[in-house]
């Protein structure tokens, strides 16, 4: 018996030795083992010869080393593709924004002053039945491949997006009113977009800054066109996992639910402060915190407010708040009694404890916004219109001839970013109870609730909405115009005046006048619409304290070329 015991001990020791051997630190490149040395030399001149197009990747190459790489921990489960004509998710846009250029752009986190991108100048012409947006491209522009950027690339980029008809295609067709034939290039430097009079050139100029409107290298992409399901894929299969753009970085590779790696583009006039950005898929917030604290990540994207608070005062770590254009709102079915009475909807708006929601429930990580255009977009109305006033709310209920009633209040399950939707619904339920409204809260998956809401069958919802592109009409239209069949439709609010006001503001070419029109619209909708706009959450980040230049754009991405450590 003792010998057997001894054998088992020997086996155990053997296992332990093997485990310890395997636990030995990996050689060389583990970030904890590699102390930062001097910052790597920035590329100073573009290579004389154009760089060759990247070969088909066999295995994903790794980033250089810890010192010349920013490791960005984020849940990138949402990425579907890195092709600008297909990507319509936050993480995909993060990569595309840094690897491509657009005709015009916003700089940093400012979303109101349009700046030249690949186009150095542009003008809007009234061509009788149409608008013509005419762009002139800059000189000596090059893609990462070394190919020159011409108007043919712009035409190809936009036409392929329309032909592919993926998620972003509506930006050209519905918002811009464009077709394949209305995108032309009279010469190598000029691009003309012919838009119907029903579309707004002012709005479309802002749309042009969004990542899907990026310009791809038509020469490179055409080389990789193939047939998928009997149709030309316009290089979509190839472009899904890498880039063919002219931005400060190239997308070296994207591996689904693993990582994407950005490497400096030597042909870009903007040279990144950090040569490599490794965006690692780390789905668990607890893990993101761990690897940040250990120095294996430089930036953590998805920490909870509690985690952010726990990092306060820790050496080597810093936290940051940034803008976020999402609006959380309560939608009320305007045809459902007693919500069909404007006084009842107004009473509900006065019953809500906006201050309590933002300061207590969300620990100050949100800003009270009560109109349909969020702070950060042109035309935003940040006025505080409603303060909690239970007596006034009760008075309004009395005016409506309503004493008390019971109603369903629905929201999605889980959290939306930093916002716990169940807790938010419960808080509103408690507020409404004080004016005699019994709200029966239920939480459902998006796939369950959305069809109900779309079919105008919801009573009260607590949901959120984020802009598709940095223009106020991305909110004003859906919230005001019943015919668009989006939010006004879902809440059964058909108000021709609101729709006309939204349309007038959309097509107004003069920016100052446009802002004025949006001010009028937002005030009108605040009192007459079927919404109680609640707040705009902040985006929270944690990073190593040596990280500099991380200036988050509220559209959901960041100029990574400005980030250093």
């Amino acid at each position: 018996m003792q010998k057997i015991t001894r054998s088992l001990w020997v086996l155990g020791i053997l296992i332990a030795v093997l485990a310890i051997a395997a636990c030995a630190p990996a050689p060389a490149a583990q970030p904890t083992a590699a102390p930062p040395t001097a910052a790597p030399a920035q590329p100073t001149a573009a290579p004389a010869e154009p760089t060759a197009a990247p070969a088909e990747p066999t295995a994903a190459p790794a980033a250089g080393s810890a010192a010349d790489t920013i490791v960005y921990a984020k849940n990138i489960n949402d990425v579907v593709s890195m092709d600008p004509a297909q990507a319509y998710e936050f993480s995909g846009w993060l990569g595309i924004h840094n690897a491509y250029d657009t005709l015009v752009k916003f700089e940093g986190k400012d979303l109101t002053n349009l700046k030249p991108g690949l186009a150095t100048k542009w003008e809007t012409k009234d061509a009788g039945d149409n608008w013509e947006l005419v762009f002139t491209l800059g000189d000596n522009l090059k893609f990462a491949s070394g190919n020159p950027i011409t108007s043919a690339d712009v035409v190809y980029s936009f036409q392929r997006a329309i032909e592919l008809n993926k998620s972003p295609a509506f930006l050209w067709t519905s918002v811009g009113g464009l077709t394949v034939d209305s995108i032309t290039a009279p010469d190598e430097k000029t691009v003309v977009l012919t838009m119907p009079k029903s579309a707004s050139p002012a709005e479309f100029l802002n749309v042009l800054t969004a990542p899907p409107l990026s310009i791809v290298d038509s020469v490179e992409v055409k080389k990789h066109e193939t047939q998928v399901d009997g149709k030309n894929d316009f290089g979509n299969t190839w472009l899904s996992e890498q880039s063919a753009g002219s931005g400060p970085y190239i997308i070296d590779h994207w591996t689904k639910e693993v990582e994407f790696l950005l490497k400096a583009n030597p042909n870009s006039p903007v040279q990144p402060k950090t040569p490599n950005i490794l965006v690692k898929h780390v789905p668990e917030a607890a893990n993101q915190q761990s690897i940040l604290e250990q120095g294996d990540a430089d930036i953590a994207h998805d920490l909870t407010p509690e985690q952010i608070a726990s990092l306060a005062g820790k050496a080597d770590l810093a936290t940051a708040q940034a803008g976020n254009l999402q609006l959380f709102y309560m939608g009320m079915n305007a045809k459902l009694p007693p919500l069909d009475k404007p006084e009842v909807r107004e009473a509900i708006r006065y019953a809500i404890d906006y201050e309590g929601i933002t300061t207590q429930l969300l620990s100050g990580n949100a800003k009270i916004i009560q109109t349909i255009i969020p702070d950060g977009l042109m035309g935003a109305n940040t006025d505080i219109i409603f303060k909690r006033d239970v007596e006034k709310a009760k008075e309004l209920m009395k005016q409506a001839g309503v004493d008390s009633f019971e109603i369903d209040l629905q929201t999605y399950v889980g959290n939306a970013g930093i916002v716990p939707l169940g807790d938010l619904a419960a808080k509103i339920q408690a507020d409404l109870a004080e004016i005699g409204i019994t709200a029966n809260v239920s939480q459902q998956a998006q796939a369950d609730l959305l069809p109900i809401y779309r079919a105008q069958n919801a009573s009260i919802v607590v949901l959120y909405w984020g802009p598709d592109y940095p223009d106020p009409n991305t909110n004003a239209g859906p919230f005001s115009d019943y015919a668009q069949k989006v939010i006004a439709w879902r809440n059964n609010w058909d108000d021709p005046k609101a729709a006309e006001m939204a349309e007038a503001a959309k097509i107004e070419p003069d920016t100052a006048k446009r802002i004025e029109l949006y001010k009028e619209l937002t005030e009108y909708v605040a009192h007459n619409g079927p919404y109680a706009i609640l707040f705009q959450p902040l985006q929270l980040f944690a990073m190593r304290s040596n990280v500099q230049g991380f200036d988050w754009n509220p559209m959901g991405y960041v100029d990574l070329w400005s980030v250093s450590k």
Partner: protein
């Protein structure tokens, strides 16, 4: 009937299992409430986009027709296109499955290497300190939530000791090995890439241990009880009476017979390790089938759900088949065919 006929019979059985699994999964996934278009396209999709989506995925056809189209595609090796990733399901599975198999095999190896000796050790020291220790170990293993254990292990081995990485399959500055099987440890071994081998082993230990701990506990308990049963058998008494050394009695005669019920558990364990790796994969950012299956289920991604279910439908009967073949190897009285 010979051995090959037996295998053929089992293969036909597996085929029927797959047909049954596919029908049940297809029906269930099409009668659950929820709109896959809403899940895939989000709240800003327009009516025409939703209609186009339904047409693209054939969701506007009768369920029977959808099933027939699915099966006819399956026969050609086409499992459809994932609603969520928009890629062929076969391509997604080809990427995810090797990672999960690698993790499950490592977890099973840990469970066998630790569980079987622990069970034997416990049995031969019944009611003594080693037995108590193993029983506590087993009790804890059976009771600890994987999620909590994972975080605990990361806290200890990554945050405190700094011995092991917190997640991923390979170091972030280590290039993965050239793909042969898709399993990093195997591929790096086959290609002689020692840096990748060390890094991938390094990354495999914690998730494999966390995933394998529950199985270790189960195997140890089963091994202990079957060993206790065997230790009282007459043939062991006879072996001892013949003057065989205790080690030979236990390992040559007792162990082999006690292993038969444990083998059943190992077979079942392997199947459940493959399908139960969801939490472990999430905690350790392990890009395997578990996370893919969860996202598919949440996103009502029917083609992906079907693909994962069929894979599980193949793996479970296959592991059972291997167990049955193992019985014959362990006990000559059992003959298949």
């Amino acid at each position: 009937m010979n051995f090959w006929s037996y295998l053929l019979r089992r293969a036909v059985g597996i085929l029927f299992v797959l047909i049954g699994v596919s029908i049940v999964t297809f029906v269930i996934s099409h009668i659950v409430p929820g709109d896959p278009a809403a899940a895939a396209l989000g709240d800003r999709a327009r009516d025409e986009q939703i209609e186009a989506f339904r047409t693209e995925y054939g969701l506007d056809r009768p369920v029977v027709e959808q099933y027939i189209r699915y099966v006819s595609g399956l026969v050609r090796g086409d499992m459809g296109r994932s609603i969520r990733t928009r890629r062929p399901v076969t391509q997604d599975l080809g990427e995810k499955l090797p990672a999960t198999i690698e993790l499950a095999i490592a977890a099973l190896l840990i469970a066998i290497v630790l569980g079987i000796p622990a069970g034997i050790w416990s049995a031969i020291h019944r009611n003594q300190l080693p037995d108590i220790l193993v029983r506590i170990f087993s009790l804890v293993g059976g009771s600890l939530p994987i999620f909590w254990l994972g975080l605990l292990m990361i806290g200890l081995f990554y945050n405190q000791l700094g011995w092991l990485p917190a997640g991923g399959r390979i170091g972030q500055f280590t290039p993965p090995p050239d793909r042969i099987t898709g399993m990093y440890t195997v591929d790096s071994f086959l290609t002689g890439n020692l840096t990748a081998l060390q890094s991938s082993l390094h990354h495999l230990i914690l998730p494999a241990f966390v995933l394998g701990y529950f199985s270790t506990a189960v195997i140890a308990r089963m091994m202990r009880s079957s060993m206790l049963e065997v230790l009282n058998q007459d043939y062991l008494r006879t072996a001892r009476a013949k003057g065989l050394k205790e080690r030979a009695v236990i390992l040559r005669h007792g162990f082999r017979n006690a292993l038969i019920p444990t083998l059943t558990i190992i077979g079942i364990t392997f199947g459940s390790l493959l399908s139960g790796a969801v939490l472990t994969e999430t905690i350790f950012s392990w890009p395997g089938l578990g996370g893919y299956a969860t996202s598919a289920a949440i996103g009502l991604d029917f083609p992906a759900v079907m693909g994962v279910t069929l894979i599980a439908g193949i793996i479970f009967p296959l592991s059972n088949l291997f167990v049955d073949l193992g019985y014959a190897w362990l006990d000559p009285r059992i003959r298949h065919g």
